[in-house]
Amino acid sequence: MNKNIILYAAILIFGVAAPFVFPAFKVQLSILCILIILAITWNVQGGEMGYNTFGNILFYGLGMYLCASVQVGMFFPLAEWTEGGGEKTFVHTPAQFFQGFAVGLAVAAIVPSIVAGLIGYSILGLRGHYFAICTLGLGVAAGEISGGIEIIGAGQGFTTPPFPKVGSLEARGEFFYFCSFAVLILTFLAVKAIYSTRFKLVLNAIRDNEDKAEAMGIQTMKYKIIGWMISAFFCGLAGGIMGGLVGYIDSTDVAFDGREMGVFMVLMAILGGKGTLWGPVIGATVFHIFKEGFWTFFLGWQYVALGVLIVVIVIYFPEGIMGWLREKYPERFGEVVDEADRKAQVELK
């Protein structure tokens, strides 16, 4: 317990100090926070509940569009903004910007979770690969359809409001970094709190055998929908911040980017270890460092590397880093190891 507090304090201090210690990596650190949030929320479905979704990108993209639309729409006509690219005609004052962003984030969190609740009953009734393909279709459909809607910029994209200068202070990077870091802490604590309750046991029961769980009197559908709504809430928040950070929203390349973010979140959670609290965090960090290195030095070959990486991780490393550690040091994970039993097994081999 004592060790844990030191660990958390160290991470917190590092997180607060990071943008000042590494000022050049502010944007990268913010993206890392977003990636960790996405991995953690995917893990609620894929890891704990056993519902491997490709569709959480739907909530992420929805949050992104909603946050930016609300931020603009609160003060200016949205259609004219998207038509003109926005920047020349309308300028947010700092107060308007922050007010709009806060309201936008609230909407970006609440609406996707309502959407998840509404579609949850029909979609979460699907099992296994049908669920996976259905959610894949959902994500791509959302991207294609939003690319045809005029008011949010259609194919030419949507420029989010530029960050205002407060006096002479230019703090865009810090602002978005602390936003994403705060949401990351919020997500982590919320998920940690959830995992220490009966709710996690129910999710695991659904993963292990849904029919049996239902036979034991658990209303599985209710829990599945609540789980999905929690994911959608934080995915929407992450999307809203990411929209402001990138500054430009395109339907298929930024918002509903199933080929990048949609796969990344699955991959990060699997790389770190499905069904663990820390797995997605570690997986996302390792993945992001690897990805940035690769993206920088082998520009153009990144998707080739990504494809190979997916295949290699899925085939040779499906348990992830946490699973590997658990096999190596079972004592650290609170598993009681009977020394005599282990020796007997080794001798048998």
């Binding site: 699907l126 690969h129 459909a141 359809i145 259609a154 998707y303 990504l306 899925v314």
Partner: protein, 297 residues
């Protein structure tokens, strides 16, 4: 209503004919998907990318001055070996595992193929011009490119040929036996590993044929693979595994649906409507099945 299709009734005929001819092509791809799904219990997300790769083979023959219709013969031969290589490298390690592992692994292959094709062939939309001309029907109000008729004809020939091959040949019987019970087939001396490789190769070859036909009739682009995967998946779940007339029917139905969606909603919503239809079909199926389950209780 200011929809063009209601003002010009002949467009309905056009859409239906286009859709049927397109749907036969979809059915051919879906047949390959049903084959590998039934035999190996694998959902191949890279299916559409194999189609596009097959299309590029025909396109390159066209670039070098060979008539692209020969691609219908060359492309499946090359694609067969591509399929076997993919099987040996990746698929044989995921055959016995969880279906999601196979989905994710083939998703990786799909991204890899997409990008390699983008490097090799460029990101332009291309087509191989067959120079077949067009047929005019009903006082020139319905235009039908001969290449579409050609592609539908070739698809039917290949599909019938494959059905006969599966029924009569030794390998075909081994494949069907493995699909029914892999373990029993193994005990009776069927080399299931070889059967799996051949199945994946045949699937890839079918994709090659379809791709060559698509490059003649429509256009190809490195990133256009995923919609073909989704379409074939949809056709297979609507028709059911091993129901060939069903695959043909639902393929043509999907083709007609797409043409109408194109006319009524607009081309920009075409792909979106396909994916949305998939979601709707799956949801419909879920409610139908859940009713059945309750009834059994």
């Amino acid at each position: 209503m200011d929809f063009l299709i209601f003002q010009v009734p002949m467009l309905t005929v056009q859409a239906v004919l286009d859709g049927l001819l397109l749907g036969i092509l979809f059915a051919l791809i879906a047949y390959g998907m049903a084959l590998q799904w039934g035999v190996m219990n694998i959902i191949n997300i890279a299916q559409g990318d194999l189609v596009i790769l097959g299309g590029y083979i025909a396109y390159f023959m066209y670039l070098y001055g060979i008539h692209p219709a020969w691609g219908v013969i060359v492309s499946p031969i090359i694609m067969y070996f591509v399929g076997v290589i993919i099987y040996k490298l990746v698929i044989n390690k995921v055959v016995d595992r969880d279906l999601f592992i196979s989905i994710l692994a083939t998703f990786g292959i799909s991204i890899l193929f997409m990008q390699l094709m983008n490097f090799a062939f460029g990101a332009d939309v291309v087509l191989a011009n067959s120079g077949y001309g067009t047929t005019m029907l009903f006082d020139n109000s319905v235009t039908l490119p001969n290449s579409k008729i050609f592609s539908a004809f070739i698809s039917i020939v290949f599909a019938i040929g494959l059905v006969i091959y599966m029924k009569k040949s030794k390998l075909g019987r081994a494949i069907r036996a493995t699909a029914q019970n892999a373990r029993a087939a193994k005990i009776l001396g069927v080399d299931t590993e070889k059967v799996y490789a051949a199945t994946f190769g045949i699937n890839a070859a079918l994709c090659g044929v379809a791709g060559a036909l698509i490059s003649i009739t429509f256009t190809i682009h490195p990133y256009m693979g995923l919609p073909y995967t989704i379409r074939s998946f949809m056709i297979v779940i609507v028709a059911g595994l091993g129901n060939l007339p069903g695959v043909a029917m639902s393929g043509m139905g999907l083709g007609v649906f797409e043409e109408f969606a194109d006319y009524i909603l607009g081309t920009e919503f075409r792909i979106g409507s396909v994916f949305l239809l998939l979601v709707l079909i799956l949801v419909y199926r879920r409610f139908k099945l859940s009713k059945k389950r309750e009834y059994l209780k």
